[in-house]
Subunit: 603 residues, 2 copies
């Protein structure tokens, strides 16, 4: 089995060479840190990934979680992972000191999570779901709630979850019906059902803390009547002992992939004794949840990119070792066979994967850098700029890696031919695992509507204008370098196409044709996404071009040359895909899907 | 679970309305048949599909074949399927009367196989692999071989296989090393290893007949030294009893999907007692095998399209029944939720699937019609025309359904959201099953080289010219109809683009830049494929447009309107994808993948 699942060299290229994460240490908030600290974080992540997570990657898939009737038996490594992450301080590493965190920049922790996700996606969700849930409590909960839950969660003793979905309310959170009845002592009594909740019950953890949305009895209908609660599986009684909180797991789903993490069904209050504690104010649950969801969406993007990374390195190793066929120019059967990496079509498949993986990583680190800058900047124009850039790029950072990650893993599988289809090699598992990402944390369709229906139009299009300005800055930089100028030109043309398409769609919206305006939102997301990744590849090329000038021959020079070659691949093979999308998007006004009547889908 | 896996209405639309298969009965070869006979074939296929195959679709996946150490335990339905297909005459139905067949047209049997494949792909390969293997014996074997094997195979008593691949020889058949040593009595003694052989050993069959390629001792190196043999797992001894032929199964693979059919490893001649009988002349094995392989390739296309069909109907049923969300124009949470089929993005996903499935079916039936015409026509220009059209379209008919079938099943899965990822619904299995098709019977990369490197240039491009003429005929017909004329125009433009791209690539070949010429062959295949399917959609639209004029309201009119809407979808959403591909293909001369050096793929 391949030993590389993610490239440390590439992570450092992005963190230090592209995004200069070291410069964050000039802000007081990060002043305690240094490049050495960041390296230590990365090295520890890689060591844990190699020693703990990666060795059980296939085993966790084969020994799926088992529902015992009351709890879920998970792989023993889960206990090890939660303990190691808790003891090492990795669950709360990004959090402020005051909450017990270490104020490690998001950029660095994103790399850390990327390493974990590439090593074993199922195993990594346990600690990082806990991070997200704790973050919600920290951000909006009372001091009492924070004190009661956050330290246990950061220590890896208690698992955190996000409990949103119900049988009748998946994409439509408006329809959440779990009800919270006000009770004495500041708590609420909950009753309802939740489904598809990751890691909400398992045997090797002391307690689970569900960050759950529900409707306070009598609350307004719809999204404005949803509140956020902490609903632990066990609560402390007056003696300080953990006792049942009437949250029962009624089953788990058997999934295509991502099998190491149980996805549970929960029943709340079967015995009318399920208590929840309100987080923040009533009826603001969706707003709170969305803060976590935006982070979670970028995390999903990282998960997908990381799985695609692991698939890419597994495919790469195979193609270097597998002899098959000969050069087209020398078909002499007496010659020995050559490694398949020497065939142009195999190189094309590898370039495709690398272009997706490193393009996606780059956009994700771009978003993390914005997050870090938002953390350290005072309120003001600059901070707002990064907030808006993050808003508009979040649906892309979630969706591009998720959708393209599927194709990337599929190409990885293809590199192995028949062996790719067999479980002796990990590709078939990556292909299954990665398929979750366009579904969870908001499907691709939801992301498309978020981008086109909200982010493009928010503040009169300010996010879009800021984004265009950022890309144009990169273009201007590249135009001054002969080797990159033609690509800068292509990106410029793509931006013009983006503006034209956006203009046409906006006119539909202004005419009040809202359904038609949004009908091709998913295509618009794809279109926008390809251009965003092209921008990131041009940024990478700028960095690599400069570095190559100073690099001698050898591995370093090969790395930069590989970067530049993959960059050209993206512009030659991937960026042109926007042309077909633009043709359609300029014609969206025909409302073709809107006018398709359900009865026309007769047999 | 959905009850529809393929649409009989659509099959009849294609067979009778589009391709007028009934007209074949005017040829003496098919004169015994009639529309009633064809309908009976289809109805029987559908009944067997619904009663025997479909009910065990999920079960065969979960109860995978098990290797016992000597044989493979398969699902009990396999015995039923082989018996029913043998007794019903379905294994040999297409074969000439003289071999015990029924001379049913390929077009009709392709529909029959499509029904089986959609009902349960794993189960259908047992009988239809047998058909293909028997066809090889019939076509090239001696009368003795035919008498000894074909009747048993047609009766479903003996399983047929194609045994090509070896550990060191997958895509590169040149490197086959299994050796055949001439012995007495006209047989050869075989020694070697085969891998990835479908259905070559299982418990519920009396015997397996492997059509195997091997190298006669002392044969020339390479492809010109490969011969074809019949190598049964058991042979008849002098007493007429079946005894071991020293073919032993050494294991099976555990696969991502398509799990109901075992893929075996075979050892030949471990005890120096494995006998094979030469089929046809020595050293012509690859030529013989390719006849079967071309048929098998179209079958693979049908398998992929059929799986995508079943996935589409499962998704369709779900989207009709699942309430979620409200119209964008009425977000009132007091309103009841609507079935998700009413959301534009869901309709887009369904249209995508239908466009792929019915576009692929159409091309496959086009190929089958050519096959039937080749069967009945005398040698001459017309026959050669259909042979060449079949040659050039075979890589497309294999690859377009296989590659797009993956995306189609993936969109089907996406329609179900989280449920699509769970095994309570069949989508996740379709997504796994369909992934085999770009791999077996020649990978997509191999198909691309076949199209660009062989089919485009054969007979000075005659196949291409004949193809262009066929498409132009369709365009001319559509131009005279106001509603279709704009689409005919778009297809015309696509053909111009195809000619331009082909011209540019040919110039690379003429310059002797063979590696660069073929480097983007896979993209060329994709490009050509989209245009071929657009052609088929225009043909469908012509038929539907005419029929709609005569159809009253109701289900029939809805069917034709659905066809026309899906046709427009293809032209608006799918056909524009050629633009990005054309951009790249016109720039193939840069040799981007060829110049990527393996060492640049450093970590």
């Amino acid at each position: 089995m391949a030993q590389t699942f993610i490239s440390m060299r590439n992570l450092k290229f992005m963190l230090y060479e592209m995004f200069d994460v070291e410069s964050l240490t000039t802000y007081p908030y990060f002043a305690d840190h240094s490049r050495e600290v960041f390296d230590m974080v990365l090295d520890t992540g890689m060591r844990m990934g190699k020693d703990i997570l990666f060795p059980v990657f296939a085993e966790m898939d084969k020994q799926q979680p088992e529902f015992t009737g009351t709890t879920v038996k998970v792989h023993p490594v889960v206990e090890t992972v939660m303990k190691a992450c808790g003891e090492g301080g990795w669950i709360g590493a990004h959090a402020p000191y005051e909450f017990g965190g270490q104020q490690i920049p998001m950029s660095v922790m994103t790399a850390f999570r990327g390493i974990f996700s590439a090593a074993n996606y199922s195993a990594c969700v346990y600690p990082f779901l806990t991070t997200g849930a704790a973050h919600l409590v920290m951000s909006f909960g009372s001091q009492e709630l924070i004190d009661a839950y956050v330290p246990k969660m950061f220590a890896g003793q208690w698992q955190g979850t996000m409990a949103l979905t119900e049988p009748q309310a998946g994409s439509s959170l408006t329809d959440v019906s779990t009800t919270a009845f006000p009770a004495d002592d500041g708590y609420y009594t909950l009753k309802g059902q939740k489904i598809f909740i990751s890691c909400a019950e398992y045997d090797s953890i002391e307690n689970v803390v569900n960050l759950m949305i529900a409707r306070i009895e009598g609350a307004p209908q719809g999204i404005r009547g949803i509140s956020l609660f902490v609903v632990p599986n066990k609560r402390l009684n007056e003696e300080g002992e953990l006792v049942s909180n009437d949250v029962s797991c009624s089953g788990i789903y058997h999934k295509l992939g991502y099998r190491g993490a149980p996805i549970t069904q929960l029943s709340l209050g079967e015995n009318d004794d399920c208590r929840g504690w309100l987080v923040g104010e009533p009826h603001k649950g969706i707003r709170y949840m969305f803060q976590m969801m935006n982070e979670a969406r970028i995390d999903v993007g990282m998960g997908a990119a990381a799985i695609a990374s692991a698939a890419y390195y597994a495919a790469l190793e195979y193609t270097r070792e597998r002899p098959q066929g000969r050069k087209i120019t020398s078909k002499d059967p007496a010659e020995p066979q050559i490694p398949i990496i020497e065939h142009a079509d195999v190189k094309r498949m590898l370039l495709f994967q690398r272009a997706i993986v490193e393009g996606a990583f780059s956009l994700i680190f771009q978003c993390s850098k914005y997050t870090d800058l938002i953390t350290v900047l005072e309120e003001g124009e600059e901070k707002e700029k990064y907030e808006l850039l993050l808003e508009i790029l979040t649906p892309i950072a979630k969706t591009y890696p998720s959708e393209m990650g599927i194709l990337s893993c599929s190409q990885g599988l293809q590199c192995l031919g028949g062996y790719g289809y067999c479980d002796e090699f990990p590709l078939e598992q990556y292909y299954r695992d990665v398929r979750i990402h366009p579904i969870h944390e908001g499907t691709t369709g939801i992301q498309g509507m978020d981008l086109l229906g909200r982010k493009m139009v928010m503040k009169d299009g300010k996010a879009l204008f800021l984004y265009l300005a950022e890309v144009e800055k990169t273009i201007a930089g590249a135009k001054s370098i002969d080797e990159l100028a033609p690509y800068a030109e292509k990106l410029q043309e793509s931006l013009e196409s983006l503006k034209e398409v956006a203009q046409g769609l906006t006119e539909l919206a202004l005419k009040g044709e809202i359904e038609i305006f949004l009908a091709d939102a998913t295509l618009f997301l794809e279109f926008f996404g390809i251009i965003a990744i092209a921008w990131q590849w041009l940024l990478q090329a700028l960095t690599a071009h400069e570095a190559l000038a100073g690099a001698s021959e050898g591995a370093e020079a090969d790395f930069y040359r590989g970067k530049l070659h993959t960059f050209r691949y993206f512009f030659e093979y991937e960026l042109p895909k926007i042309q077909g999308l633009a043709v359609r998007l300029k014609n969206s006004g025909d409302g073709l899907t809107v006018s398709m009547r359900p009865e026309y889908f007769s047999e």
